[in-house]
């Protein structure tokens, strides 16, 4: 399951960044990948749709979104894994 989450999140981010999935590394930031604020909210929307979860995220206070850390691809994957566990329990 965790690997499946990781692969799907990376696929979503890769599509948004117009990159090959192989080029989306967990340590990359969204900025590294060229994803801007609109690309971010679109990615979150795609994640919500893909996993049927609700992501708590307010674009006005990205640093305060403790429940959804967007600092790197890896942190996003971890946050999605956590939300899937919580919301599918």
């Amino acid at each position: 399951m965790p690997n499946e989450v990781r692969d799907r999140v990376i696929a979503i981010i890769a599509e948004q960044a117009v990159l090959d999935v192989a080029d989306v590394k967990p340590e990359a930031t969204l900025e590294d990948l060229g994803i801007d604020s609109l690309g971010l909210v679109e990615s979150i929307f795609a994640i919500e749709e893909a996993f049927d979860i609700s992501v708590p995220f307010n674009a006005n206070e990205p640093e305060q979104n403790a429940a959804f850390d967007i600092s790197t691809v890896g942190s996003i994957i971890a946050a999605v894994e956590q939300l899937v566990v919580e919301q599918k329990a």
Partner: protein, 402 residues
Amino acid sequence: MKRVVITGAGTVNALAQDVAGTFAAFREGRSGIGELDIRDVERLSIRIGGQVKGWDPEAHFNRQQIVLYDRFTQFTLIAAKQAILQSGLNFDGHLGYEAGVVLGTAGGGVNTWDENYRAVYEEGKNRVHPFVVPKLMNNAAASHISMEFNLRGPSFTVATACASSNHAMGLAFQMIRGGSAKAIVTGGSESMLCFGGIKAWEGLRVMSKDACRPFSANRNGMVQGEGAAIFVFEDYEHAKARGADILAEVVGFAMTSDAADIVMPSKQGAARAIAGALKDAGLAGDQVGYINAHGTGTAANDKTECAAVADVFGHHADKLMISSTKSMHGHCIGGTGAVELLACILALREGVIAPTIGYEEPDPECALDVVPNVAREAKVDVVLSNAFAFGGLNAVLALRRI
């Protein structure tokens, strides 16, 4: 070139259903933002707004009118009636041919779209009321004003999202200044506090769940409002000749386009509009005492707007006052510039600066005098009103005390 003055004002918004009540709320720093009372609110994650409470269409209109008037048109007509009554103008004779209506709205009859989509999609109905189209169209409110008050000159509606009202009022100003009309009924209206309207905004993730706190370090987004404000703009000589009570003079207007991003604001675009309005008015920056900010309470707008003001005014930016009344009435989208022009008139006419309420923590990126939480008495001679729309379309008006 003709001088242009304001001789009437009217409004319906979350603070009050008239100008006097709105002024009272501005003086008190009272919030009109609260729990939304709309259908399916439990399916929304954003449940607050600056909603017009206790609105009773049947107290104002008959059944035949109500079937034609979306809520945004209803607000507009009542506000226009107040404004025209105050102006003392009667358009029944020749003046009607020299007067028009220029309004702003972003969405027009959003409630009508919402209700009828619900009927055909959710409820599976195959028939809608015959007046859906004339009820929802963006120019419905402008047309109903023209019919109600016999305004037969230049009339139209502009839609530039959150700058719609300022574009409308700026064009009204230019038309009178250029001599193509003696009077224009102008302003704007919006009513998108319905399930579909809020749901669309939720998607952008820029809305606050608790309060609109412009310029405060802990701000967390915008809160939507609804309402209308309508003004009578009039040729100064015409107003003077009939001894009209003049509320303020409109002295300058400028509009710019960022040509950059569909949602993120640009400091340069905003600054060019502010500087352009001053130049159009023939004013120096240090004459400006107050700016009614766009001040949406989003992270992006407020810091960009403050940086633009600092760029245009230099050292004077630390002396002028700038406040966002969206903290009280919410962001009335296409009607917001019009509702906010009321704060400009209050400042010029009564020497009261409406506060930015909900202000809790200073933000070094918004280090201007934002008139936090409490209204202030101050004599100001010149004020500006900013509006910066999604799509990068900026419109700034300059007004002077008279």
